[in-house]
């Protein structure tokens, strides 16, 4: 009997060659990519880590003397970045409020919380806690008005309220849009399409500056809340289409079975259609939340002191003027952490849900 041959095992050099340099054009691509990767990587690491100044009590002059990144500016100015112009002694409240928002988001991602009631509870309680903490005036906390809110805390507040108001509004719009009554569905369609075709900046601008014209004096409200309503409207228009897409993915037989059991419209929507629709629409919904977080930065245009504006203020002094790159990189890093982790989670959910379909 012939002896059984073991499968051929290429040596390490051989497998490397096969993976990266199989043909001349591929070899060229590999060489170029590798050079780029190493060069960029070295430049970035050198600037950000090796030659950087990490001295937390350092001054700007010491920074300028060194060649790398000047992270001392973050150490010196982190309070303004995170809390804006919030009073110094009360900044712990702002910090706690930010932690609450992060906790809210994490809880929303856990599958066991995915019933209407629990999500509403988490977001409702979380937002209320945030508001009470930041504003004060009760429970012995000194009152601090919205004009003094700033930095990351303001960014998070705008994000949370936009989603809190926008999401129920989105469901309403989606239900109106898919109504069988032609006047209702067409009018809603026009509204949704009109809002979606406008740039968000113009909508924020309109709500900040134009809408006061159209409101009677007693309804004027604070500019912050007007802008939040505008932002929520924009969010709702996009999310409504996502929910509607999710609903279209629910087989019509589900609605028919519910009808034949005698359930009325609201029972069918609330118990049968929406739960299934939201499961379908979950990855796209998470994507929409991520976009909403990125777009909170636009309120800088209507004069709010959110994290970008506070970044400008952080290096705006004569002392730290040259450290603008470090500040922007730090802010980008904050955005990146939040946005990237949420998108990764969305991608993971999408894979998991589509596997279940098979």
């Amino acid at each position: 009997m012939a002896s059984v041959l073991a499968p051929p095992r290429p040596g390490p050099l051989d497998s490397l060659r096969r993976r990266f340099f199989p043909t001349p054009p591929q070899a060229l691509v590999s060489a170029v990519s590798l050079t780029l990767l190493l060069w960029l990587g070295w430049k970035v690491l050198d600037w950000a880590l090796f030659s950087a100044t990490f001295d937390t009590s350092g001054t700007a002059d010491a920074c300028r003397a060194a060649t790398g990144a000047c992270w001392s500016v973050i150490a010196a100015r982190w309070r303004i970045l995170f809390f804006g112009l919030y009073p110094y002694e009360e900044q712990w409240r702002s910090a706690l409020a930010c932690v609450i928002v992060v906790a809210m988001t994490v809880l929303s991602c856990i599958p066991s919380f995915w019933t209407g009631r629990r999500i509403a509870l988490v977001w409702g309680v979380g937002t209320a806690l945030f508001y009470v903490l930041m504003k004060g005036g009760v429970l012995g906390l000194p009152y601090i008005g919205e004009e003094q809110w700033g930095g990351l805390a303001l960014t998070l507040f705008i994000f949370v309220t936009t989603c809190l108001i926008g999401f129920p509004l989105a469901i309403c719009l989606a239900l109106l849009r898919r109504s069988e009554l032609p006047w209702i569905s067409r009018t809603t369609g026009i509204i949704i399409d009109a809002v979606r075709s406008l740039p968000l900046i113009s909508i924020l601008f309109m709500f900040a500056i134009v809408v006061p014209f159209m409101l009677p004096g007693w309804l004027q409200g604070d500019k912050l809340y007007r802008v939040i309503v505008g932002s929520a409207l924009f969010f709702a228009a996009y999310q409504a289409e996502i929910v509607r897409g999710g609903m279209q993915g629910v087989p019509t037989g589900q609605d028919e079975a519910a009808m034949s059991l005698g359930l009325n419209y609201w029972q069918r929507i609330g118990r049968i259609l929406l739960p299934q629709a939201m499961r379908n629409a979950l990855p796209a919904t998470i994507n929409q939340f991520v976009i909403a977080f990125k777009e909170t930065s636009l309120v800088i245009i209507v004069g709010f002191f959110e994290i970008l504006a506070s970044g400008n203020a952080a290096f705006g002094t004569a002392e730290w003027r040259s450290a603008y790159v470090e500040v922007y990189v730090f802010i980008a890093f904050i955005y990146f952490t939040f946005v990237y982790s949420l998108s990764r989670y969305g991608a993971f959910l999408e894979r998991r849900l589509s596997v279940g379909d098979r």
């Binding site: 037989g253 079975a257 009808m259 059991l261 005698g262 359930l263 049968i272 299934q276 499961r279």
Partner: protein, 254 residues
């Protein structure tokens, strides 16, 4: 015409008079006249596109009839929302594709409507549900999700779900057409049991063996109209109409 007269046993379960249905220009149902008594079992057969499903879907307002009258258990089926709700409470339906709610367990599927529509307490609803799950012979699956059950099991759950509302009439829209052959028998057995207990049933099906066993009347529909009807022995042995004969020869052996 607003109260169903359940005390009078002579009231027909279903009465259709001169019913027509149009989809735009297409005449789907032509001059349907049909009376079904309480406890009667009617099997409707015919080629695809003959309007059989459309007709029974008109009976619980899943489709809206264009003209004519439909009276279910003494209540007229018209635009009155109250009438529609009342009829849907008393008429149950079993679908070809089961249509179980995938995000709820079997037990939750069964207790949902009794709790929401008949306003039963949870304990009572669950007791009823378990009784009917027992009847369809899958009590042990109560806490499973529909996706974890076989086709035959799902359809039996669907029957139990309809029964939990304790309807007077059960409509079946090709209940075994989506099942693998080895599972058809278990569902048909349940339906035979229901029939023997006196349930008023209208069943659209291709299962001619079932029709022979259970039906009081077999109806043949073609191109939107009732072509022939009669008791099963007469219907299968000596069909009077040419189209009936042609159809029966095509489904020989079932």
């Amino acid at each position: 015409m607003t109260a169903s007269d359940t005390s009078n046993a002579a009231v027909a379960a279903i009465r259709i008079e001169g019913m027509n249905k149009y989809y735009g220009e297409f005449h789907a149902l032509r001059n349907i006249d049909l009376t079904v008594s309480r406890g009667e079992k009617v099997v409707v057969c015919g080629p695809s596109g003959s309007g059989k499903s459309t007709m029974i879907r008109c009976l619980n307002r899943l489709e809206e009839h264009s003209s004519g009258r439909i009276v279910v258990l003494g209540t007229e089926l018209d635009d009155d929302v109250g009438n529609i709700d009342e009829i849907r409470r008393e008429v149950g339906m079993v679908f070809q594709h089961f249509n179980l709610f995938p995000h709820m367990t079997v037990l939750e599927n069964c207790v949902l409507a009794p709790m929401l529509v008949r306003k039963l307490a949870r304990a009572e609803a669950e007791a009823t549900a378990r009784r009917y799950l027992e009847k369809v012979r899958i009590p042990e699956q109560a806490s499973k999700y529909p996706g974890q059950l076989s086709g035959g099991q799902q359809q039996r759950v669907a029957i139990a779900r309809s029964l939990c509302m304790q309807p007077e009439i059960l409509l079946f829209d090709e209940p075994t057409s989506a099942l693998d052959p080895e599972m058809i028998a278990e569902v048909l057995d349940v339906m035979v049991t229901l029939a023997s207990e006196g349930m008023t049933m209208i069943c659209v099906t291709h299962e001619m063996g079932f029709a022979r066993r259970v039906a009081d009347r077999v109806i043949f529909m073609d191109a939107g109209e009732i072509v022939e009807e009669g008791p099963p022995d007469a219907f299968f042995a000596a069909p009077r109409n040419e189209r009936t004969r042609k159809f029966l020869s095509q489904v020989v052996g079932h």
